[in-house]
């Protein structure tokens, strides 16, 4: 092997001092990167890893089932496979299925999980292959999906959009995304100070079997070990002794021999003496007495055994203990103590929990593997139980376990978790809700934005600033702009454009390599040697590997080997000088991104490489393999000197950024010139871009979604960014280029309102389509009855079809193209009245009795007429008839519809003006939108101004402008283009008023700006009522628009009326217009009577009628029912 050692390269100083030539097109690495990694690829990679590698490991770990009933009987899994998605057409006949069919038919896109098993039947040993044990929902575009590797034409024939990123599941017809979950990293020591300033340290150990948390706490200067399985904190020294280190000198050597460390640790040693614990047995007895009792079946163990098991298997579970050799675990514990001691005196040793290197992201694959292992264990436990129960019983046939293997447990477990989002894992006591979400298909960007979303485990209600604020270590990994406002602010994050999330890598070869590179194994060393200041401790994924003398050599050689491709590119190594560690990480869930390697002041990637890339001779992988580019994770970034631009490269520089705009995410990448905007504006746009209407995918017209918004004539923005091209937003845009005049007009544009041009609206500006779905399921019931659909009813006298059924075809389902009014019927379904009990038996000779039916029509409800776009008649997985009706509405913009530019500047349409009343320029150009200039000064969205100018220049030149972050067309160039074409350099124009016909007294800033129509439209919100439905119980008006409810006059409004003294109005609002009720009250007894008769007094003599709120009457009656008598005392209004 040939290695260049970094220091040895002869370089000449003059060479370095020269400015480094910029590689112009190095951004072209990005599309190559996005082809293999990034964006949604991490979901797919993670899922692929799960179904191809991890699932086999899980089965391997749980491969054998035995029973106590029969020592000979066993069941062994030989292998497991996940097939390709299919659907069972009829018994044992399957057919491959496409994701789109699953969407339409409300089915789950899943593949069979099959196993090869070996088991005993009687005395025979049987091997069976390809036995199904359940079904696995398949992620779209994963290795087992039918869509992978298909050409756009093939995808089109499967009704699938070639641009759709995949990475989600189709479960029961809905698209579900498993959000990326952020967690504190496992198996790492985190030193923290609590509120009182006490320093403690904790480790969350996680292995396949167990998850446990071990902490060291200080109590009166003594160190104690805290663990869930211990009922009380145990002194650390006792634990050391219980693990076999009886000699206190040895303990101290492990913790550290510095004066300061020893003096801090001394009280703990003393405590042990006070407890009279000197030997391992004494210590184990002590620990055993503190072990929390658990109901265990099987053999009962002694306290000592219990303590030893706890120390070996539960406490710090990730440190392996082989044959009760506790050395490694003792060292780890000693290190924890040492870290706490150091942190007590020096605050710099306290870890930062929010540091992104301490975070791990859990993806679909990891979450599913947790779930699958749980289900698989339960499945095996069930088989074992069956074996235990059945084998001892005498029976005719031989016991065959295969007949007892039920598929539905695993299938339902997986599907239910994905549809509900409740991740329940019994063995870890994990119960998480909201892990999955329905993929939002509002626009292409909202779908893509959802795939890059990271949700944090933090409680949203907690008012903490630490986890919410932007951490410097998130640079380049997470988008600094894209986070929601409000309660989830900073807790929900989004990945940046080039972030990749690692999957687990084999540890074994890395361990071997580390030992070969001079790492000395722990077992050979004494405590003092390990904590000696001349050596660095080497960790692999949180476990101590050993010590190394020359950490520099280790790190450098390791990196060279990685660049040469001998180690996986995602394994990271970095020294930590403060703690004197070298951390090697190969675990999954770390975030990393690629950088160009710089050697001796020169970036490795040259123009030549990029040319080859463009010509297609090179792929991104080649860049990795040749050591031109490498991935750095957050921890390793800290050990590198990364230059942002070529001009900043110095001799110390180790890496070069590929493109600075990649530090933004998908949503922020749409904003032109974001670096000129005030930062919250970019955040607002990130939220609004997801509400913009546009196109969803090339298959948008084949989809039948509950609600779908489409723009009629979407346009590619005049001012693009590189991100737009990379994510192919230009192929599925969401917005239109509007000619905007920044001026005030008519006063209907205050508070961000916009003025629209009527002719533009006529010509299709902002026109959108709203699709809505209604479904109808025709079921069969247990008693042989079934739902039916009847043809339209006819009027008995005239023979004409009744109005409600006018849209129906002869088959009782509305026909496509039909216009539907409010309350008209879409499907004339009727349902049998009796569905549970059996029908009356038919008397022989007579036709069987017809079941009685009740009408349950599916009807349309809405303020505007709607058209039937298409009707789908199919069946779902349960073989029930499924009718889906897609309804369409075309909407043109109206006053109150919401629009927004790409700079967080939203506004509603305030007025639609005829074109002849609009201002026009010398060239006769009329604006589509007039925007009030007051929107600018306080918002400081300079990017919008530049977008307008760049757009205008683009229009004049006939090409797109570029507003890429930290780059893009320069204002100076744009201005000179304007001047060249005879326009004013500042983008302002001479404008004539359309109302007076005279020129305006100011020059108007005029040009194209990309405008998005947002999903909030007045027709969906308008609501008023004079009279209408009332709630049954209180007789008050119902609440909410969907129930045609009343508008509430709330407490505060009531207070106003009281303060003003408008008593009659108060009475009207609160009683007469709400729930006035005439009640008969007996003035004698004060109780309420009925129809002029008092039941209590048995007389009608003293009855008076009065009006009270029905709710009040209800209250009285409820009080009566609980033995409280409210009596009304009445007085004539003339008496006093």
């Amino acid at each position: 092997m040939e290695f260049e050692t970094l220091g040895n390269i002869t370089e000449n100083l003059e060479d370095v001092s020269k400015p480094v030539k910029t590689v112009e097109d190095k951004w072209k690495l990005l599309p190559a990167f996005l082809k293999v990694k990034g964006l949604v690829k991490q979901h797919i990679d993670s899922f692929n890893y799960f179904i191809n590698v991890d699932i086999k490991k899980i089965v391997k770990a749980n491969e054998k089932i035995t029973t106590d009933a029969d020592p000979v009987w066993y069941l062994k899994y030989l292998n497991i496979y996940v097939g390709s998605p299919d659907v069972e057409e009829s018994f044992n006949i399957t057919k491959p299925i496409s994701p789109h069919e699953c969407r339409l038919r409300d089915m789950t896109y899943s593949a069979p999980i099959t196993v090869d098993i070996e088991y005993t039947r009687g005395s025979q040993r049987v091997v069976r292959h390809n036995l199904p044990i359940g079904r696995m929902p398949i992620m779209l575009r994963s290795s087992n999906c039918v869509l992978t590797g298909k050409s756009p034409a093939e995808l089109a024939s499967l009704n699938e959009c070639p641009i759709d990123p995949g990475g989600y599941f189709v479960a029961n017809g809905t698209e579900k995304v498993i959000l990326i979950q952020e967690q504190l990293s496992k198996n790492r020591i985190i030193v923290e100070a609590d509120k009182k300033g006490n320093v403690g340290c904790s480790v969350t150990s996680s292995t396949a079997e167990r998850k446990s948390r071990t902490s060291i706490v200080t109590k009166q200067h003594k160190f104690r070990l805290k663990h869930n399985a211990l009922s009380e904190d145990v002194p650390v020294v006792v634990v050391f002794k219980a693990m076999g280190i009886e000699c206190e000198q040895e303990i101290v050597q492990m913790v550290g021999c510095e004066e300061e460390v020893i003096s801090t640790f001394a009280p703990s040693l003393e405590e042990c003496h006070k407890l009279n614990i000197y030997t391992q047995l004494q210590a184990l007895q002590y620990v055993g007495s503190k072990v929390r009792q658990r109901a265990t079946w099987g053999k009962s163990r002694t306290k000592v055994e219990e303590a030893r098991e706890l120390l070996a298997g539960v406490m710090l579970a990730h440190v392996p203990v082989i044959k009760y050799d506790f050395k490694a675990k003792c060292l780890f514990l000693a290190l924890m103590v040492r870290r706490v001691i150091l942190a007590c005196s020096d605050e710099a040793h306290v870890d930062d929990r929010d540091y992104y290197g301490n975070k791990r992201l859990e993806l679909a694959g990891q979450l599913l593997s947790l779930l699958f292992e749980d289900l698989f264990k339960r499945f095996n436990a069930e088989l074992k139980k069956i074996a235990d129960q059945t084998i001892p019983k005498p029976r005719a046939a031989q016991f065959d376990i295969v007949k007892h293997m039920r598929q539905d447990q695993i299938t339902h477990g997986l599907v239910h978790a994905i549809t509900s989002g409740n991740w329940i894992i019994k063995r870890f006591n994990m119960n998480r809700a909201g892990v999955t979400q329905v993929l939002s298909r509002l626009s292409f960007i909202s779908a893509l934005g959802m795939m890059t979303r990271i949700s944090s485990q933090f409680e949203k209600t907690r008012k903490v600033s630490g986890p919410r604020s932007l951490q410097p270590s998130q640079w380049g990994m997470l988008c600094p702009s894209d986070t929601p406002e409000g309660e989830a602010c900073g807790l929900v994050k989004n990945l940046a454009l080039m972030t990749h999330i690692t999957t687990d890598q084999e540890e074994e070869p890395i361990i071997r390599l580390a030992y070969n590179l001079g790492v000395e194994n722990l077992s050979m060393l004494s405590g003092e040697e390990i904590s000696h200041p001349s050596v660095y401790l080497v960790f692999l994924n949180g476990n101590i590997l050993g010590v190394v003398k020359s950490y520099k050599r280790l790190v450098e050689t390791f990196r060279l080997m990685r660049r040469a491709g001998y180690i996986n590119e995602f394994v990271s190594i970095c020294p930590n000088h403060q703690h004197r560690f070298v951390n090697i990480a190969s675990d999954g869930g770390r975030v990393c991104r690629p950088y160009i390697i710089v050697k001796s002041g020169k970036p490795m990637v040259a123009d030549r490489h990029i040319q080859e890339l463009v010509q297609g001779f090179r792929s991104f992988e080649d860049f990795l393999h040749e050591g031109l580019v490498e991935y750095l994770d957050v921890n390793e970034e800290n050990d590198c000197s990364i230059a942002l631009y070529e001009k900043e490269i110095t001799r110390e520089t180790t890496h070069l950024e590929i493109e600075p705009f990649t530090l933004l995410g998908v949503c922020a990448g749409l904003i032109p010139y974001p670096h000129h905007n005030q930062s919250p504006r970019n955040t607002y746009q990130c939220a609004m871009g997801k509400q913009a209407m546009g196109s969803i995918g090339y298959n948008q017209r084949n989809r039948i979604d509950t609600l779908l918004y489409l723009l009629c004539y979407p346009q590619v923005p005049m001012v693009k960014t590189k991100t737009i091209e990379l994510i192919q937003f230009d192929k599925l845009p969401a917005g239109q280029n509007a000619t905007v005049a920044v001026m005030s007009y008519s006063g209907y544009d205050i508070e961000d309102a916009l003025i629209l041009n009527k002719s533009s609206v006529d010509r299709g500006f902002g026109r959108c389509l709203v699709y809505r779905k209604q479904t109808c399921l025709l079921k069969r019931y247990a008693n042989q009855t079934f739902d039916r659909v009847m043809g339209p009813s006819k009027d008995a006298s005239t023979g004409e079809v009744i109005w409600r059924h006018r849209a129906l075809d002869a088959d009782g389902i509305c026909s496509p193209g039909e216009r539907i009014e409010n309350k008209q019927v879409l499907v004339n379904k009727s349902m049998p009245v009796v569905t549970t009990s059996g029908l009356q038996p038919a008397t022989p000779g007579q036709p069987p009795p017809q079941p009685e039916y009740r009408d349950v029509p599916v009807s349309y409800k809405g303020p505007m007429d709607i058209y039937i776009e298409r009707v789908l008649v199919t069946s779902n997985a349960e073989e029930a008839f499924l009718i889906k009706i897609l309804q369409r509405q075309t909407r043109r913009p109206e006053i109150g519809d919401k629009f927004s530019s790409r700079h967080g500047q939203k506004g509603v349409c305030g007025l639609i003006v005829n074109q002849e009343d609009m201002p026009f320029t010398d060239l006769g150009i009329c604006p589509d939108i007039i925007m009030n200039p007051h929107g600018f000064p306080s918002r400081m969205t300079v990017g919008k101004l530049i977008e307008l100018m760049a757009g205008k220049a683009g229009v004049l030149e006939g090409h797109f402008g570029y507003g890429t972050a930290f780059g893009g067309d320069k204002v100076e160039d744009v201005c000179s283009v304007l001047v060249e074409h005879g326009f004013n350099y500042s983008g302002k124009e001479y404008v004539t008023s359309g109302i007076t016909g005279e020129p305006l007294t100011a020059y108007i800033f005029f040009g194209p700006v990309y405008y998005q129509k947002l999903k909030h439209m007045v027709v969906d919100k308008m609501h008023a009522r004079a009279k209408g439905p009332r709630a049954v119980l209180t007789r008050q008006p119902t609440e909410g628009r969907s129930r045609d409810g009343g508008l509430r006059l709330g407490e505060m409004e009531r207070d106003c009326l009281i303060a003003y003294g408008a008593s009659m109005l108060l009475l009207e609002r609160l009683m007469i217009s709400s729930d006035a009720f005439e009640v008969d009250v007996c003035s004698e007894c004060g109780l309420m009577g009925y129809s002029g008769w008092c039941h209590y007094c048995s007389s009608s003599h003293n009855i008076s009628t009065l009006k009270i709120p029905y709710a009040c009457k209800l209250l009285f009656q409820e009080l009566l029912s609980m033995n409280i008598v409210p009596r009304l005392s009445l007085k004539h209004y003339t008496d006093e």
Partner: protein, 250 residues
């Protein structure tokens, strides 16, 4: 004067009548866009897309592979109603352009529509508007207050659109003269140059209007101008008669 120019734009944009399709009935699903062409009366369109059997084997172009795959305005057929057949020939009533794409079809798809066209005005819907745009501007006026000579003259000429400033050579001295101010686009570029800023005065002649009428094609722009003047005259007459009638009343 003001009245005239106001009404002018308004009338052209909004009140000269043309015809457009108002109602259309379809018997095909994959079509959405409302059709727009300038027509009168009833039009029919019946197109069925079929495979081209004589297409070369290696053809990939849909135009070669299929017959009638593109439906254009050429496929529209005028159906005379009432006495229309007697009054107009087929050349009188037709789409303005014959090559406007209406839809693309594939074998098995069929388009069958009937379109009713009506006469309307732009006020009602932009599709009836006979002009793409009609507007006016005031004639720019450029006065050179202080003479610009030599390099300044060239620089001045640069600052304006081509042909606005002419550089003349008089007695060996280059000098800028305003040649044709009408050609100026009024970019106000000179105000960026401190040395030129105070040498030129830019203004507009307040009673010199330059109208531009850009027709969409149904009627030529000269006809449009005449039509609009007729509408304006009609309005004036109506206004006068209204005035008269009111005078009688009071």
């Amino acid at each position: 004067m003001l009245l005239l120019r106001m009404h002018y734009g308004v009338i052209l944009l909004a009140e000269v009548a043309t015809m457009a399709i108002e109602k259309s009935s379809f018997t095909i699903t994959p079509l959405l866009s409302k059709m727009r062409c300038w027509l009168t009366g009833l039009f029919e369109l019946k197109v069925k897309c079929i495979k081209n059997k004589n297409a070369p084997k290696n053809a990939t172009d849909p135009d070669e592979l299929f017959i009638h795959s593109k439906v254009t305005t050429d496929h529209l057929k005028w159906v005379p109603m009432g006495n229309q057949a007697r009054k107009y020939g087929p050349q009188d009533i037709r789409p303005v352009h014959n090559d406007i794409l209406i839809a693309k079809l594939r074998p098995g798809q069929e388009l069958d529509l009937k379109m009713h066209t009506v006469k309307g005005i732009g006020k009602d819907h932009a599709k009836f508007s006979p002009v793409a745009t009609a507007s006016y501007r005031l004639l720019p006026e450029i006065t050179i207050t202080k003479p610009c000579e030599e390099e300044l003259a060239d620089k001045l000429a640069e600052c304006f659109s081509e042909g606005v400033i002419r550089v003349e050579k008089n007695n060996g001295v280059k000098r800028a003269v305003v040649a044709n101010s009408r050609r100026d686009t009024c970019s106000r570029e000179i105000f960026r140059h401190d040395d030129l800023k105070n040498r030129v005065k830019l203004s507009r002649i307040r009673d010199h209007f330059i109208f531009s009428v850009e027709s969409t094609g149904a009627l030529s722009s000269d006809v449009l101008v005449c039509e609009s003047i007729k509408v304006l005259l009609g309005k004036c007459r109506h206004f006068l008669s209204e005035l008269d009638s009111h005078c009688v009343d009071t």
